[in-house]
Subunit: 356 residues, 2 copies
């Protein structure tokens, strides 16, 4: 049987009506991979929810399929967002699928075409303004309030509805809820969505317990941990470089209600976890994703676990989203040798001496 996508699979939990188009790029249905090596090292039963294998390479597809389907249901022919990354890629892909216009507003400082190329190849029209990101979002809100254009940034309430399906999948894949759900926190919509999903599954009797929600901000953008917005957030994990999270309150509520916590990790810890995930488990995720794994290492050091807990780390996006960080992280250039069997064998021996 062909997988039918999120709207069909979870329609009883979603605002899907007779008039909602059954839009899908076969988002969701992403792997839950057991972290065999790290489970052993940490004394946990550790899994990765690998959201990088959504169609556009990040978890944003879950919320976007719902938001775009509802936009069409409500008669919209144009969607709009302020975003330089994963949100714009997801918006553009679903707009392409339905033949909608997709307008992406970005600040005109440091346009990284690589980050935008994905949205543009899907056909998004990109407009750069002489102002910062907050101003771009403000203009998007003004325009979409007055014109028949649908806002698909995270303030669109359907985004959270779609995103909560990831919690359903985790439970369906495990056969129960995990003990702990570890997740990166940037705009804080994803932790809010997972918690909503777990609670709904629990209310329906699909799971008998709820996980503790542990969220991790990057140190340079830890608004929630500090209790105040960060004016100039900075972190290598660009997908969570957010100084004033839109879903701040619901994220705090998720942590409190679940007896979890919002904590933080440093860029160094993020990059270390980023390399560890790839080199020890064979999973390549974008730096922001590694915040969840870095966080689990931090909790382990702090004695948080009693041992054996079932822990799911959400890996929010694919490592291929940020090739420059990968290139910077590998450190060594290839070893160059002559084209002989002997020279290559000598090089292998040398590398083994270096701990190959």
């Amino acid at each position: 049987m062909r997988y039918q996508g999120l709207l069909q699979t979870y329609k009883e939990y979603l605002p899907v009506t007779d008039k909602t188009p059954m839009l899908t790029l076969q988002e969701g249905n992403t792997p839950l991979v057991r972290a065999e090596n790290l489970s052993q090292e940490l004394g946990l039963d550790l899994y990765f929810k690998y959201e990088g294998l959504n169609p556009t390479g990040s978890f944003k597809d879950r919320g976007m399929v719902m938001a775009v389907a509802k936009a069409v249901e409500e008669g919209s022919r144009t969607i709009m967002c302020a975003s330089t990354g994963n949100t714009s890629a997801a918006a553009a892909a679903y707009a392409a699928r339905l033949g909608l216009n997709c307008i992406v507003l970005i600040p005109n400082n440091n346009i990284a075409l690589g980050k935008l190329a994905q949205a543009m190849i899907y056909g998004a029209k990109v407009i750069a303004i002489e102002g910062n990101f907050d101003r771009a979002l403000e203009i998007v809100r003004e325009i979409t309030a007055k014109h028949p254009i649908t806002l698909v940034n995270s303030v669109n309430p359907y985004r959270i509805e779609g995103q909560k399906t990831a919690a359903f999948e985790v439970c369906d894949q495990l056969g129960e809820a995990p003990d702990v759900l570890a997740i990166p926190v940037g705009n804080a919509g994803n932790i809010s969505a997972y918690w909503k999903g777990f609670k709904e599954y629990h209310a329906k009797g699909k799971i008998s317990s709820l996980p503790r929600m542990v969220g991790f901000e990057a140190e340079g953008a830890m608004a929630i941990v500090k209790g105040e917005p960060i004016l100039e957030p900075e972190t290598v994990a660009t997908a969570i470089r957010i100084g004033n999270p839109a879903s701040w309150k619901t994220a705090v509520a998720a942590a409190e209600e679940s007896s979890g916590q919002i904590n933080y990790v440093t860029d160094e810890e993020i990059l270390s976890a980023y390399r560890t995930i790839a080199s020890r488990e064979g999973i390549f995720a974008e730096p922001a994703s590694a915040a969840s794994v870095a966080g689990v290492y931090k909790l382990k050091r702090e004695g948080y676990f009693k041992g054996g807990e079932k822990v799911v780390c959400v890996l929010t996006g694919h490592g291929l989203k940020d090739p420059n960080i990968a290139i910077k992280s590998i450190g060594a250039e290839p070893l160059v040798v002559q084209d002989s069997e002997e020279a290559v064998m000598a090089a292998i021996a040398k590398l083994e001496g270096n701990g190959v």
Copy 2:
């Protein structure tokens, strides 16, 4: 129920024994997305098998999981390949998972670190030789013949075994075999593997008919179409830039036995299909993948179809694998305007005038 990966799912069709480690990164189980807009345009029932959503971003994971599992079963602790692209990424990921050494040999001309970074972040050790790709492969063959190191290039017979599972999935997802299977042809292992898979499913009674296999080489690398090796193959579709396909004979046999054909498409046709898939269906695939869709367009122009055929195009890798082509393909830079609602609305109107 959690998906268990290819070795477990299709073990009765694979060389899996009691001693084969059940290695998995949850490769396979990739989307079969109906091409809603192109089906209508072309008068076909057209689907994309989106192999870019395998864990390392290409179909190579299917063959590699089998090859690496067998390497371990046979006592190997080191694997080796000559590759600058998808093969090395897949080899490195599975080696990381099992704690094996992975040695990648490349020619020292024009090393594109971006292409290699993925393998390196998974922990592969890369050695560049003063010689070309053919010489690198030759050295890999010499070394693996003499030392306890397993060759995982496509001459490793387990690769085809793993890759044939994609044909099983297509049939499982459709509930039958398609009428036509369109696929890019580079080294020609993939068309050989699909045909093997379809025949095995047919022999077991899982499907009642077999598809016509239509394969497409890039014009600048069309060795099979020309009937002779191409000394200096050249095409924008780097993943099929191969002048002397390793699986030449089995590819020709697949086309002949299935009443299909090996044909070719130009770089222009490939890039056009590459943009069409993204902008009209919301699917981002690497340029080589687009050869299958470009080929279907070509066959349509040539009157090959009677109409309504069920056609599956294999999209072999994710578009994020080759960000530079995406940047080159988008053409336009973002439009820069002042930070006012009026200026942005004027820009939108202008873009709509340009056919937004």
